[in-house]
Amino acid sequence: MGNGTSIGRVRGLGSAKTGPHHWLVQRFTAIGNLLLVLWLAVSILLLPDLTYASVSEWLATPVPATAMALLVVSTFWHARLGLQVVVEDYVHEHANKFACIAALNLAAFAGAAFGVFCVVRLALGAHA
């Protein structure tokens, strides 16, 4: 086992066991996005129109509200994982990379929380 290169230092040690987690969750959330965004696209086409009255009435019912909340969580999670890989590919300086991923985490959680809150507020009768 060599010690000159990073691959040489780790060769023969076996897997770290947690390596595929990011990759797998990217796939799991992709399946969620596939189902939920297609549901949203079909729902938009099936709504009589896209006025405030039609959309808010529809989104306040239990199944659409649940699906939309799940859609927000699944898409933001997937985007957070995908953008992490983009940051890791293009931001090489350690401090900048750390700052980017920290900002990404804040933005992803804030965005998802805002989206879910809006759905809940509408579903629990903000304007009923």
Binding site: A41, L50, V55, S56, V72, G115, V119, L122
Partner: protein
């Protein structure tokens, strides 16, 4: 960290050395559309949900913005990015199980996925606007 050993190591050949093929285009577009969806797509989604939760006045502002020419470009762009990302994502699922790596098959689906993305976008807007 022993950085001395990792600096100035030979790099694997990058973009410019390879002959261009559709599989490179579909891979790059997967990243481009994914970034577009993350920023523009989720941004518009949150604006839509926020406007719905805020009330008719906020929704009127959103509806006005989205029916301007720029608004339509943004919405068509988001829908195209979604369907394109969905098709290249489905291609990734097939590649993930170890299928579709034969040269001809790989080439065929690399060309078909972005084309199907455009077809689905056109179909979506045709149904939405012509119903």
């Amino acid at each position: 960290m022993a950085n001395a050993g990792t600096k100035n190591r030979p790099l694997s050949p990058h973009l410019q050395i390879w002959r261009w093929g559709p599989h490179m285009f579909v891979s790059i577009m997967h990243r481009v559309t994914g970034n577009g969806l993350a920023f523009a797509g989720l941004g518009v989604l949150l604006w839509w949900l926020g406007a719905l939760a805020s009330g008719p006045a906020a929704y009127a502002t959103f509806a006005w913005a989205m029916t301007t020419p720029i608004g339509y470009i943004v919405l068509v762009g988001i829908s195209w990015a979604f369907f394109t990302h969905m098709m290249s994502g489905l291609r990734h699922f097939v590649l993930d199980i170890g299928a579709g790596f034969e040269l001809k098959t790989n080439r065929t689906w690399s060309i078909l996925s972005p084309v199907l993305g455009v077809v689905l976008t056109v179909a979506f807007w045709a149904i939405l606007l012509l119903r």
